[in-house]
Amino acid sequence: MEWVSFVIISLVALGSALGLILKRNAIHGALFLVTNLGSIAALYLMLGAEFLAAAQVIVYAGAIMVLFVFAIMVLIPGKEETGPDPRRVWRLLALPAGGVLLVLLAVMAVTGRSPAPGRLPAGSNVETIGRLLFTDYLFPFELTSVLLLAAMVGVLLLARRRA
């Protein structure tokens, strides 16, 4: 049963990733990316990370992709992908490069020495993550808030009409 769902979800993830990089229309790419993020959220659920699955749907599929769709609608891209490509040969070299990278990563994943298996702590996943964030990772957690504030101020500065 778990195998069946894993195979289906991975096929959806791989297909939507390929659709993202192959379709010319940026809005189609955004929809493919939403599908991909949703399938990765399902994989998080299968790995026992319920909190991350919910955060993935809310933060990525919700907030970040809405931002992308807004940017696509403001900029109306598409013309730059249709004209003749002066660097076509160089771009096509990306395919063998990506294949080599895939083989290297897959060999590392399959042949790497695997550590001793353990079990995730029993009980609520949200409670475990919450305790971890507010004890061991308290300082990075607070730094994240500073980072988000700095990003917000920076975006306001960049997006002002006459900066």
């Binding site: 778990e2 990733a17 970040i64 940017a71 695997s114 298996p117």
Partner: protein, 101 residues
């Protein structure tokens, strides 16, 4: 029977490679950004898979931080793209050679 974590890692490797190819072959900066998100998600997936294997929730905490940084990165990046579009009226990455050596 449960799926070994190796398969999750192989899937993450495939997604990461697709993201790398997308960054190189596309000319639209917005699609390049989306491919970068794809690569970030592949890395997140391997974090969660390793955490599951080791029985440690630290991997999930790291993914939480990656998500926060990715949100900040997307906001700043899209603002920069919009600012460049206002300045140049074009959106192809081939035209953005102002800071080349």
């Amino acid at each position: 029977m449960s799926v070994p974590e190796t398969y999750y890692l192989a899937l993450a490797a495939a997604l990461f490679s697709i993201g790398v190819v997308g960054v190189i072959i596309r000319r639209n900066p917005l699609v390049i950004f989306m491919s970068i998100e794809l690569m970030l998600n592949a890395a997140n997936l391997s974090f969660v898979a390793f955490g599951h294997r080791l029985g440690s929730p630290d991997g999930q905490a790291l993914v939480f931080f990656v998500m926060a940084v990715a949100a900040a990165e997307v906001a700043v990046g899209l603002a920069i793209i919009v600012a460049i579009f206002r300045l140049r009226r074009r959106l192809s990455v081939d035209d953005l050679n102002l800071m080349r050596w």
